[in-house]
Every structure is written in structure tokens, then in C-alpha cells.
């Protein structure tokens, strides 16, 4: 898993939000797909659609050897009250320093306490981590009593 690509996705979505653009595309990878679905679950983006460089697919297009290079994920951005819903998106684990956290650490972060140099969660902030059970939001991970590698935080 390349965190550099994930950092680019975070920057891109922040830039799109600042410019108030409706839809945008990110590279089609397993990690990006799981993060996009996680963001949609949490209500930060409205839609996740497969597509190519031109735009989202209108009908189902299977991924083949011919079109795999052109595959993109199209996300629908959300805006409320003249402000973007997804305004800040940052990596927690960086390529130079990976961060792993257990359940107790997650509980501290969600209760507003700093843990292992990770700032606590703000009101309305979400933290996504990669665990044995796949990509989870911090509160979902606490429910399941598992920890993992903190990937990104979204506000």
C-alpha cells in the first residue's frame, strides 16, 4: 500500500472542495474504493461511481485488460450552507512514519484526548484505519474491539 498516492487523493479532494466543484475522479484502486465507500457511509461524499477519464459510466462496464488503465473512481462532492462538507482530509500515517493504534488508544482519541502524538478527534471528525477486518472508521473499530493502522482523518 502506497501512502504517497493516498496523500495525493487527500490533497486533491481538499482542492476540489475549496473550488466548490461538483464531481471529481481519483485513481481506481482497492484502497481508494474502500475509502470512498467509507466516506460515503459517513456522509462526506454523495456518490461513488466507476468510470473512465472522461466521466462516470452511464451503464455497467466490466474492467478488462483493454480498459484497466483508463479506469477512474468518480466521487460526488457535497456542499451545505455555502461550505464544503468535506473540508479537510489529512494522512495520519505518513510514508516516513506509520501509526498503529489499539482499541484503548482509539477510545482515547474519540474521547478528545491525545494519544501517541495523534491529535484527538474534533466534533464531526472521522478517522479511518486499516485493520484485519478491512478499512474501518474509528468508532466502528471500537465497536468491534480491534485496532489497526491509522490512515487518514476527515473533517
Amino acid at each position: 500500500m502506497v501512502l504517497k498516492n493516498l496523500a495525493q487523493v487527500c490533497s486533491h479532494l481538499q482542492n476540489i472542495s475549496k473550488a466548490h466543484i461538483a464531481t471529481t475522479s481519483i485513481p481506481m484502486t482497492k484502497l481508494n474504493l474502500s475509502i470512498a465507500l467509507g466516506l460515503q457511509d459517513q456522509g462526506f461524499i454523495s456518490s461513488v461511481t466507476r468510470g473512465n477519464y472522461a466521466g462516470p459510466d452511464t451503464e455497467y462496464t466490466p474492467i478488462t485488460q483493454e480498459n484497466v488503465a483508463t479506469r477512474r473512481l468518480w466521487l460526488g462532492m457535497k456542499y451545505y450552507d455555502n461550505e464544503p462538507v468535506l473540508s479537510k482530509m489529512r494522512l495520519v500515517s505518513k510514508p516516513t512514519k506509520r501509526v498503529w493504534v489499539g482499541v484503548n488508544g482509539l477510545k482515547m482519541l474519540t474521547s478528545g484526548k491525545e494519544h501517541e502524538y495523534v491529535k484527538p478527534l474534533q466534533p464531526g471528525e472521522c478517522m479511518f484505519l486499516l485493520s484485519d477486518k478491512g478499512l474501518l472508521e474509528a468508532r466502528e473499530a471500537i465497536e468491534r474491539q480491534i485496532g489497526g493502522q491509522l490512515l487518514l482523518r476527515v473533517r
Binding site: 459517513q42 456522509g43 462526506f44 457535497k78 456542499y79 451545505y80 450552507d81 461550505e83 462538507v85 474534533q122 466534533p123 464531526g124 473533517r155
Partner: protein, 296 residues
């Protein structure tokens, strides 16, 4: 008995003479018969002697009135009120009292300061309430403008005002005199009062990080009983606003004027749970109140 001499014969000027038939024939070339009938009727409505008495408006005197008025009576719309009018209305008296609206906020406070009176009318608070607002001059320094006449020095002041219960505002004033500048700043601060959101009326919603110019300011929400542990300017603004638990950090520039402006910007740009909930389409619950019953 001495007889009064006869009145002098009335002589009319040449330009007030009525139109001759030859004149009317010449006019018929340029005007329609209906037009000619209307202005001949207009001519007959003015007496020739009155027309002779007309006075051309002098180009040389710009202060002459553009209308006929002997200024013997006071018009309630056009004229300013007069202090020496009789208390009751007297028909035909040149000095007439004008209707005076009762000041709804006057509680008999005769020693009202002019700026308090002006600002209370503007913002809708009574003079007593305005006098009770907490105000403080935070920044004062000299500013110089180099003109063709030389260096003109003025004093600049920045004041903060608040009611200690959610309203806060800042104002700037610039004047040659120290007192004028401070009074101007306080007036503007009270005039610029605005409500700011507070969590539980004691702290802000979450942490706010703003960058205004070269100032990078972070305002951090703190638990009850923490106190306002901030630098002097943020402390004063929090005091005026009614924020009791706050922490602040100015990392880059600490220029007082800009830190104050950044603080106001931060207080205005809090992310409210209501907005987050509606934007994300999720239910937003304050765990402190719901689960811990306000104990934590």
C-alpha cells in the same frame, strides 16, 4: 385740503405685450393649433402687471432662493426645527413647534454621553445597556501620513466591546487626539457587536485554526473550570464575549492588531454540530450530555 396726486400711469414693458395676429401666423408654421390655443390660454392667466414685476434669477448670487418665499412661516417638511417656538401650536405664528417623538429609551438619564446615545439608536440597545457593556482599548499607536504639507501624525486605537454573554465586536478609530481616537474605536466596537456561538455558553465548538495575514492562530475548546488561559488580547476578547474556558496559541506572527482580527475571524468560523449534522446527513449527539449526563 391737500389732494393726493393722481397715481402714475401704468407703463408696461415691451416684452410683456400680447401676441399680434402676425405673430400668431408665424407661430402656426411651428406649432399645432392645439398647442397655440394652450399657450395663448396660459398667457391670459397671468396679469400683464405681474409679468412686468418678474425678477430674473441672478446668476451672480448663488444663495438666492429658487422659489418665492418670504420665510414668514415654518414649513414642517422643509425647515429645521426651531428652539424658540411656542410650546403649543399657534396658527399663523412664524415660529411653530414641530412634532417631537418621545425617545422610547430615555429613562431620565440626562447625562447621556453623545456617542452612547448615537450607538444605542443604531444598534437597538438602550443607553443604560450600552453603558454597561464591557469595553477595552487593546491597541494604541501612532500612524503617520506623509503629505505635501509634511508628516501628519494620528493616533490609531483598537477597542473590543462585549456584553459578557455571547455578543462581541471590535472597532478601530483614528484621530489626531488620543481621546477622540479611543472614543471612536469604542463607538465602532459597540456598533460592530455580533453574536458568536458558544458551547454550553462557556467555550467554543471544537478547535479552530485560522490564518489571517501572517498570524496563524489556534483557539482550543477546553473543559469546564479550565479558565481562559490565553495571551492578553485573546483573553480580553474572550472576557468580553463571555467565554470562560479557552486555550489559544499564536504561532507565526503575533502582531496585536492582526491577532485580534484573527481571533474574531476564528470565533465567527466555528463549525457548529447542527451544520455538520445537516451537511453529512447524520445524527449528531453530544455524548457528554446524553451518555455521561454532563458529569464528564
Amino acid at each position: 385740503m391737500h389732494k393726493r396726486p393722481p397715481p402714475p400711469p401704468v407703463t408696461h414693458s415691451a416684452d410683456s405685450a400680447p401676441y399680434t395676429p402676425a405673430d400668431i401666423a408665424a407661430l402656426r408654421k411651428h406649432y399645432s393649433p392645439a398647442q397655440i390655443t394652450s399657450f395663448l390660454a396660459g398667457e391670459t392667466s397671468i396679469a400683464r402687471s405681474d409679468f412686468d414685476r418678474r425678477v430674473r434669477r441672478s446668476e451672480a448670487d448663488p444663495m438666492l432662493l429658487r422659489y418665492l418665499d418670504d420665510l414668514s412661516t415654518i414649513d414642517p417638511t422643509l425647515d429645521f426645527p426651531t428652539r424658540h417656538a411656542p410650546p403649543e401650536y399657534v396658527a399663523g405664528h412664524p415660529l411653530q413647534p414641530l412634532p417631537v417623538m418621545e425617545d422610547p429609551f430615555s429613562g431620565g438619564d440626562e447625562a447621556a454621553v453623545p456617542w452612547i446615545r448615537d450607538v444605542s439608536r443604531r444598534i437597538g440597545f438602550s443607553e443604560g445597556e450600552v453603558a454597561k457593556f464591557r469595553t477595552k482599548i487593546l491597541v494604541t499607536h501612532r500612524v503617520v501620513n506623509q503629505t505635501h504639507m509634511g508628516k501628519i501624525q494620528k493616533i490609531y486605537s483598537l477597542a473590543v466591546a462585549g456584553n459578557g454573554n455571547g455578543l462581541v465586536g471590535i472597532g478601530e478609530g483614528k484621530a489626531v487626539e488620543h481621546d477622540d481616537s479611543q472614543r471612536m474605536a469604542t463607538y465602532m466596537a459597540v456598533r460592530n457587536l455580533e453574536p458568536i456561538p458558544r458551547y454550553e455558553n462557556r467555550t467554543i465548538y471544537g478547535d479552530v485554526e485560522v490564518k489571517l495575514g501572517a498570524v496563524e492562530l489556534g483557539l482550543y475548546s477546553r473543559p469546564p473550570g479550565f479558565g481562559v488561559r490565553c495571551s492578553q488580547y485573546v483573553f480580553e476578547i474572550a472576557r468580553c464575549a463571555g467565554i470562560h474556558d479557552l486555550s489559544a496559541r499564536a504561532t507565526r506572527s503575533r502582531n496585536p492588531m492582526n491577532v485580534i482580527k484573527a481571533t474574531m475571524h476564528a470565533l465567527r468560523n466555528q463549525k457548529l454540530p447542527e451544520t455538520i449534522a445537516r451537511g453529512r446527513g447524520k445524527k449528531f449527539v453530544d455524548v457528554r450530555k446524553v451518555y455521561y449526563n454532563g458529569m464528564v
